[in-house]
Amino acid sequence: MAKKITLPLTPELAKTLKAGDEVLLTGTIYTSRDAGHKRMCETLAKGDPLPFNPENATIYYVGPTPAKPGQVIGSAGPTTSGRMDAYAPTMMSVGARGMIGKGARLPEVVEAMRKYSGVYFGAIGGAGALLARSIKKCELIAYEDLGAEALRELYVEDMPLVVIIDSEGNNLYELGREEYLASKK
């Protein structure tokens, strides 16, 4: 049974989530992927503010397809998170706590998650048409020149996610596979 959670992702809320939990997420999230993260980290290095308040923020690694007339957003599934590993610890150091994506993360990201009570959620890769249904509002907030990679503020309702790595560093990619293989012995 999926657990309903409402953002912002405070440290208290983050600590209640465990690897393998299926959740339905409601609240405001921000989209960014490779080029957007590079620019945000350059902005932070210069001491400038980000285009959104990172405190307790959740970032969705996604580059959606263009919305058709009448659509809030086009197809919008997750991209491979590992490409954001170089930037994720910096983002967490300024308060961002949630990440939504798919695929493995580096040990230094998991280390930063332990330090800052971060949570890594998985959305189903390749299910962009289905995931778009939970996105109720979409507003472009910065980096318009990056096209699909621009920063967007989304409001999502009951977005279906799974906790892949929790704030203690437990990892569903390891646990789920081990559990499955053990059940076959």
Binding site: G125, G176, Y180
Partner: protein, 280 residues
């Protein structure tokens, strides 16, 4: 010589780009549904249900199945008795892609330079693979290729002494390394033989081959079956959350090669294995 206007090619490619991105081939849908029926992983069943729901939404509402609408890989089998008239063939293919990605509301995911980057804004250029074949027709296949899975592909130049075991180990190692990154369940294309570049092309052609077909050589048909079973015994499962369905298909294509070598390329694709074909 039969004449074919470039305008016809532009129109077909535009349509194929949109159709391929919105409608999953029947053989792929069928493979996913069959795997769902056999799956017993805890989270895995729900994941496969969502994947099925997703391609049904895409089908019914004409939406891209996945937001990574890929690089447009365009395969042209051009009959030697065809005369293409009215313009430049490469430009026609790119114009078709440009229109398809614009009019189909597909994502533009191509950068102009691999190092200096910079989005081209229209998803061109296409990756074009041309073959001259007998006849007076042109067979056009568009296979949009996402890069979450492309990035997990691999090639190795084996010594012949590595033998069949070397290839088997390489397939398992590549799938293990890919893990959850390429959005499993995957489709695995294996190309063995030829040269360095031809092995990679064979692997790409292998992922385009329908999943309900086998290699015509029983030796490789058996190897396809054996390796699919071995991959699915790894327990990676849908999305890497644990389960039986790590891959929904594994196709092998082969070519003769040199006495000194045994190239092997593995092209990884996700469950959104897209391709649409039309003959002019």
């Amino acid at each position: 010589m039969r004449e074919i206007q470039v305008q016809q090619i532009i129109d077909v490619i535009e349509k194929l780009c949109i159709d391929a991105n919105n409608h999953l081939p029947e053989d792929v849908k069928c493979a996913i549904k069959n795997c769902r029926a056999c799956e017993d992983g805890k989270i895995a069943c729900g994941v496969l249900d969502n994947i099925i729901e997703n391609f049904e939404i895409a089908d019914n509402e004409n939406l891209p199945i996945c937001q990574d609408t890929g690089m447009a890989c365009v395969f042209l089998e051009i009959g030697q008795d065809v005369h293409i008239v009215g313009g430049d063939l490469t430009e026609a293919v790119n114009e078709g892609v440009r229109r398809g990605y614009k009019n189909g509301y597909l994502r533009k995911s191509v950068v102009a330079d691999p190092v200096r980057r910079g989005n081209t804004g229209d998803n061109t250029p296409a990756m074009i693979y041309t073959e001259i074949v007998p006849g007076d027709k042109i067979k056009i296949t568009v296979g949009p290729k996402g890069f979450g899975s492309e990035n997990m592909s691999a090639i190795r130049m084996f010594k012949p002494s590595a033998g069949l075991q070397g290839i088997k180990d390489f397939i398992i190692e590549t799938v293990e390394t890919a893990g959850p990154n390429p959005c499993p369940p995957m489709v695995i294309g294996v190309g063995i033989g030829g040269t360095f570049d031809k092995a990679a092309l064979l692997a790409k052609k292998a992922i385009m081959r329908p999943l309900d077909t086998s290699n015509p050589d029983p030796y490789y048909a058996d190897l396809e079956k054996e390796m699919l079973e071995k991959v699915n015994a790894l327990g990676i499962g849908p999305q890497g959350f644990g389960g039986k369905t790590t891959a929904i298909g594994l196709n092998i294509e082969v070519l003769p090669t040199h006495i000194a070598g045994m190239p092997c390329a593995i092209n990884i694709n996700c469950h959104v294995t897209r391709h649409k074909t039309e003959v002019l």
